[in-house]
Symmetry: C2
Subunit: 205 residues, 2 copies
Amino acid sequence: MNTPTPSSQPSRGPTEHEVRAQIVDAATEYFSRYGYEKTTVSDLAKAIGFSKAYIYKFFDSKQAIGEVICANRLATIIEAVHRTVGDAHSATEKFRRMFKALVVSGSQLFFQDRKLYDIAAAAAGTPWPSVNGYEQQIRQMVSDIVRLGRETGEFERKTPLDETVNAIFLVMNPYFNPLLLQHNLDGAEEATMQLASLVLRSLAP
Amino acid sequence: MNTPTPSSQPSRGPTEHEVRAQIVDAATEYFSRYGYEKTTVSDLAKAIGFSKAYIYKFFDSKQAIGEVICANRLATIIEAVHRTVGDAHSATEKFRRMFKALVVSGSQLFFQDRKLYDIAAAAAGTPWPSVNGYEQQIRQMVSDIVRLGRETGEFERKTPLDETVNAIFLVMNPYFNPLLLQHNLDGAEEATMQLASLVLRSLAP
């Protein structure tokens, strides 16, 4: 992330930070309408009313713009999940809410709301650093919830923590990984509920 | 499936059944080398040394040939799974073996052995009737194993059978559905083992 160049003069125009945000907003709008894979930086520049050279002053490539969009979306999903998990009183309830919120926010942000699936697919395919970070955050949340449940006595303690966390992560993976979620959107809500119940049965002391 | 036309005369040439099998064998070989999506019936006819019109006498379309290839592969997978499950003495062991065999045979038959993934993808995308049949057979095997484990006292009996079976089917889905398996091939063996253990913990009485 870039920060505006410090200056003792009052700003005479938009800061670098503002221009970057402006490009990202316009690109989000543009990609969500015309797709990410098929459009070029030239198309995008034309649509925003900037020159291609000007955009390249702020971003090295189309992918660099896509990565910021993706990172923003993933951050929004994680925030939504944290919010809903924070309110829950037991590890059991936290787990159910986490799984549900991941699927609901993920489908909305990549499939329904803006059709930005192209970006999600590109991101999950390589994968981009933001996706790795996203997966680590999910793994961490699972780990925190399992630890909590073990402390409160809600969950069993015999299975090695790492194995429990990894197996749960694998169960959830088809529903938070956009590449897999595209094949699982139908009935994702019921599937998530049934899978959460199965996981919770597996955690019973 | 067609049967040869009954005839009182001794056969003067290959039967319809034989020609169909010959076309399917040649097509399996050809698609595994050049892919299914990109080749046409003309390419295939040329490679086999038949006329396109002759092939169309036996199959309505390229997809009709692909469906037979796919059905054959899926039948081979199911046979392999049945064989390995049959030898196991407990429901627990049957479940572990079933899950493992599905992944091993599936990866071999669609990814390693012949690179027939194109066909699997086309089949799973629509999906073709053979894929629906395959999924039903897997669901039935899961159901049989869960029932057995409930009878022998290995598994809990509180959760409705349908829900238990469906949730297990969902856990396994990314590993037997070729569209999803392509994204899960790395580490599929360990993942399968950990997921099987999680499922078995969820089934504990």
